[in-house]
């Protein structure tokens, strides 16, 4: 009981130790040092660029991955051959015939010379 009372008294004494604390002054030539730092444009504890914070970085990464996945899915859908659309070989054939490349005409021309 006595011990508890003694502890309580000590604790209260510690809690009251800041009563009447005096305000302290800034060290001398504070403004001179501040001005030098301002002129130098130097900040020792510069806050990090918010874009470089992990939360932003992860968010941006997730966004890039999502865009990639969406474009991949879209690309797959457009590349898939449909019944009505001509196949790749048909396309090649039609282009070749349009430019008269389907009958080895290049070689024929060379022979004529």
């Amino acid at each position: 009981m006595y011990m508890k009372k003694e502890t309580n008294r000590k604790v209260e004494e510690i809690l009251d130790s800041l009563n009447g604390v005096k305000r302290i002054s800034t060290p001398d030539f504070f403004y001179t040092r501040l001005k030098a730092r301002l002129d130098k444009g130097m900040e020792p504890r510069r806050s990090a660029n918010p874009v470089l914070r992990p939360a932003y970085a992860i968010g941006i990464l997730a966004l890039i991955i999502t865009f990639n996945v969406i474009s991949l899915i879209k690309h797959d859908k457009t590349a898939m051959p449909t019944a009505s659309a001509p196949s790749d070989s048909e396309n090649t054939q039609s282009i070749a015939s349009a430019y008269q490349l389907d009958d080895n005409s290049v070689y024929d021309l060379n022979l004529e010379k």
């Binding site: 510690i14 130790s17 302290i24 800034t26 403004y31 040092r33 020792p44």
Partner: protein, 187 residues
């Protein structure tokens, strides 16, 4: 030069106005910072950073609160940032020690003896500061502003952007926690 004129001149980049601002508020900023970071060198560093921030962001000050309230807000925020980085350094040092060869020094904050405390109270105040360090940030800020800056609960609520009853509750919890910590230390 009243507060409004001072702010206008600061917004115009008037160097004399900036000097006047620093001279008016430097002790307030330094005292608040030293109470939170409990180190004179760090407190001066924070005070410089606070005035640099004010210089660069005065155009964002809309005058919705008193200038001193805004400055207190910046000061507590800067000081808490330092305390947090110090804690993370301590955690990192602990991990290094755990996984290293055990020879790495542990980053320990020495006892803080506030220069404004009466000589016969120095030891008790050092114990109290050690206990304050263990408080959650908002309780630490409320307690420090009340005890060291002698601010009213109304002024603290303006700085912390909260209600007076919330500050009362913070102070009550801070005292309760400090009692627990100090009892543990004493017992």
């Amino acid at each position: 030069l009243n507060e409004f004129e001072l702010i206008q001149k600061l917004k115009d980049g008037d160097e004399q106005a900036f000097k006047s601002l620093v001279e008016t508020y430097q002790d307030m900023v330094f005292n608040t910072a030293i109470g939170i970071v409990q180190n004179a060198e760090d407190a001066e560093d924070i005070a410089q950073e606070v005035f640099i921030r004010i210089f660069r962001s005065i155009h964002t000050f809309k005058g919705e609160s008193k200038l001193s309230t805004w400055i207190y807000r910046i000061t507590t925020s800067c000081a808490l940032d330092l305390v947090r980085s110090r804690k993370s350094k301590k955690r990192f040092a602990f991990l290094q020690r755990l996984f290293g060869d055990g020879n790495e020094p542990i980053y320990e904050v020495p006892d803080f003896y506030h220069p404004g405390v009466a000589m016969d109270q120095k030891e008790n105040a050092a114990k109290l500061f050690k206990a304050i360090e263990q408080l959650p940030d908002n309780q630490k800020v409320a307690f420090t502003l009340h005890k060291l800056e002698d601010l009213s609960y109304q002024e603290i609520s303006d700085i912390m952007k909260t209600s007076v009853s919330a500050v009362e509750s913070l102070m009550h919890r801070a005292k309760q926690n400090l009692r627990k910590i100090l009892e543990k230390e004493a017992g």
